[in-house]
């Protein structure tokens, strides 16, 4: 036991004496959350839009009012002819123009067909999609209220495909995403680097030629990073709740528990990597390529998995971050309990056990 305590103490010494790395580990989550938060949330708020109301009747005015009242849009211009539309965009201040057909209300009431045209500045396609989505939602809300008895209410629904949009509810998506990314980086990469460093400075040879058990070695290496990762989870949640107003709707205890599970998965990944690499640089590159990129690309929070080609969808299942992302979304955002995430949790448990088993089996008790 004393052996173990001294070893863990030594690992903490390495971490605390390397001030620069420690600062990066502690600050990275905060910086990332803030960067993502402000870069993504300011975008769609209070976008300027213009209106060309050829109907000027009750229904068109009601819709315009609703658009203006929403926190996404400000109606800043009223156009008079369709020639003005281009000029409005060229002025550079307008993101969307809403065009109502003449006799809008008449057509809606009598023929059941009314047209609204949404014209967006697609030079920034992401924003264009988002603003048309928002406007489309507002219009269909209005229509649902007008004719609740009509099912389905397709008559003035604008022709817009409901594309999945990561920015639609940015903060809700990226907080779980950044959590997955930070945890896998800190736990897996730092653990693997810490082990490989012993190989690099030749202390590994001495540790091997000692009665020290591999299990003890691995545990002592992992514990400090599990601890640091838990600190990171706490800071991420704190910053999310206070600065970004993303609430924790579900049980905090469950959320921490699931994070702990994911940290274990990441640490076992780090162990695997340390078995496969010889230098710290190699371990870092390997971690970035096999952990960071899949987490970003296939984790589900940057790009929707549903719209990927089938092979990529299948591959995404072996990315642990994907499962953790789903869990955090369900628990933190949707406020669901363990019954909703037990399957995903089981997948992570399975992955962890598998990785640990392989790492212990592959742990080299000799050189080469």
């Amino acid at each position: 036991m004393k052996q173990f305590i001294i070893f863990v103490k030594k690992e903490f010494r390495h971490i605390f004496r390397d001030r620069k790395s420690l600062l990066i580990i502690i600050m990275m989550p905060i910086v990332q959350i803030i960067l993502f938060g402000f870069a993504l949330t300011n975008e769609i708020k209070n976008s300027n839009i213009a209106v060309l109301d050829n109907a000027k009747d009750e229904a068109s005015r009601a819709i315009i009012q609703r658009l203006d009242a929403s926190r996404y849009f400000n109606v800043t211009r009223y156009l008079h002819a369709s020639q003005d539309i281009e000029a409005a965009f060229k002025s550079g201040t307008v993101r969307l123009v809403v065009v109502f057909q003449p006799d809008f209300r008449e057509s809606l009431m009598h023929s059941g067909k009314a047209q609204v045209q949404l014209i967006a500045d697609a030079s920034d396609p992401n924003t264009a999609t988002t603003v048309t989505n928002y406007a489309g939602n507002i219009i269909s809300d209005y229509q649902k209220e007008m004719s609740p008895q009509v099912q389905p209410p397709y008559s003035i629904r604008p022709e817009i495909r409901m594309l999945y949009n990561p920015q639609l509810k940015g903060a809700y998506n990226f907080v779980p995403g950044v959590m997955a990314m930070i945890l896998i980086l800190i736990s897996a990469m730092m653990t693997s680097v810490a082990i490989v460093r012993e190989k690099e400075i030749n202390t590994m040879e001495v540790l091997l030629v000692s009665p020290l058990k591999p299990l003890l070695f691995i545990l002592s290496k992992a514990i400090p990073y599990v601890f640091l990762s838990l600190v990171n989870v706490s800071t991420i949640l704190l910053v999310s709740v206070t600065l970004l107003e993303v609430p924790i709707n579900g049980s905090l205890l469950l959320l921490m528990g699931e994070s702990f599970l994911f940290i274990l998965t990441s640490v076992s990944l780090g162990l695997m990597i340390s078995n496969l690499t010889k230098t710290q640089q190699e371990a870092q590159m390997f971690s970035l390529m096999t952990l960071m990129l899949p987490t970003l690309l296939l984790g589900g929070f940057m790009f929707p998995i549903e719209s990927m080609p089938l092979p990529l969808q299948i591959i995404s299942n072996i990315v642990p971050s994907k499962w953790f992302f789903l869990i955090v979304k369900d628990v933190m955002i949707k406020g669901l309990g363990f019954s909703a995430v037990w399957k995903e949790s089981l997948v992570l448990v399975g992955m962890t056990l598998f990785l640990l088993a392989v790492s212990f089996k592959k742990f080299k008790t000799r050189l080469a």
């Binding site: 030594k10 390495h14 390397d18 030749n202 202390t203 040879e205 001495v206 091997l208 030629v209 009665p211």
Partner: protein, 305 residues
């Protein structure tokens, strides 16, 4: 009982292009309490041999045992009882002297206090700096600390892989004095070094080159087998003297050795040599009999192989 037995060890490393033989058919024994030196340059196979004996590497063929335990089957027993200081061993640079020693004591399930007697003589020299980080120590101090760390669990056999490489002459001398002290306490020591002059400090040495043991014996016995008359020569221009002597028809071998060149002649007609050097306009020529040392023997063996 022998502390170390090595029998027909062979070790090769294969890379993409070629197969490198690190050790070809190496056999020897080390008696308990002996200070045994493996002398040879980089690439002689010393490190591979040490790694096999410390159970870190598996040999291709052959057997070896340490303290009666087989290096393959009973490797755990060996790990519990030997001390090992790898080449270029650098300790934990970000930890203090005391923290390093405490750590290595604990991984061997012991404490500094329990075996303090053994390291005392060495530790008192670095004790004034016990709160200094290992990375801030000089080369000689680092070696002393590393030796303490390898000794702290009272090993029965101590393996030191090139402990004096890159260390200045004073520290080297001190290091060897420490080894002599440890030998007094009954610890078997195997030490490797590329410095030929250090052979004299060992009870017995193995001269290694390119994976083979060329000779194995006590230093005086190795020197007595040199078997040829050796002359020390010098003149005002040493470099020209060397090239001229190498061209001389009666020269068997000629190597520079500090302020003299060591010369072996085909027949010992020294007057002819002096005449020849006179013809070549050498001044201040001095020629006298010389005692061969281990380095002379090593080069002779290299040439014969």
């Amino acid at each position: 009982m022998n502390a170390v037995t090595v029998h027909n060890l062979v070790k090769t490393y294969s890379s993409k292009k070629e197969k490198v033989t690190a050790m070809q058919d190496v056999s020897f024994t080390v008696k308990q309490g002996e200070l045994f030196g493996l002398i040879g340059p980089d690439g002689a196979g010393k490190t591979s041999l040490f790694r096999i004996l410390t159970t870190l590497l598996l040999a291709d063929s052959g057997t070896a045992s340490v303290d009666g335990f087989d290096v393959v089957k009973q490797y755990q027993d060996i790990r519990n009882r030997v001390g090992y200081m790898p080449g270029k061993f650098s300790l934990y640079q970000d930890m203090t002297v005391e923290e390093n020693l405490e750590f290595f004591a604990s991984i061997f399930n012991t404490s500094i206090e329990a075996n303090y007697d053994l390291v005392k003589d060495i530790y008192v020299q670095i004790a004034p700096f016990k709160n200094r980080r290992a990375g801030k120590l000089s080369g000689g101090m680092k070696q002393k600390l590393a030796l303490c760390c390898a000794l702290i669990h009272k090993p029965s056999v101590l393996f030191l892989d090139e402990p004096t490489t890159g260390v200045d002459a004073v520290s080297r001398k001190e290091f060897w004095e420490m080894l002599k002290g440890l030998k007094q306490q009954g610890i078997t020591i195997l030490v490797s070094t590329p410095y030929m002059d250090e052979a004299a400090m060992c009870d017995r040495v193995a001269l290694m080159q390119l994976g083979k043991i060329m000779s194995i014996d006590t230093p005086p016995n190795i020197i007595s087998r040199f078997g040829e008359k050796l002359w020390a020569v010098r003149s005002a221009n040493m470099y020209r003297l060397l090239t001229d002597l190498k061209k001389y028809s009666n020269t068997e071998s000629c190597n520079s050795f500090g302020e003299y060149h060591h010369l072996v002649l085909k027949n010992d007609d020294t007057d002819a040599v002096l005449r020849y050097l006179g013809e070549q306009n050498h001044t201040a020529v001095e020629l006298k009999p010389a005692q061969p040392n281990i380095e002379d023997c090593f080069m002779q063996l290299m040439n014969n192989n």
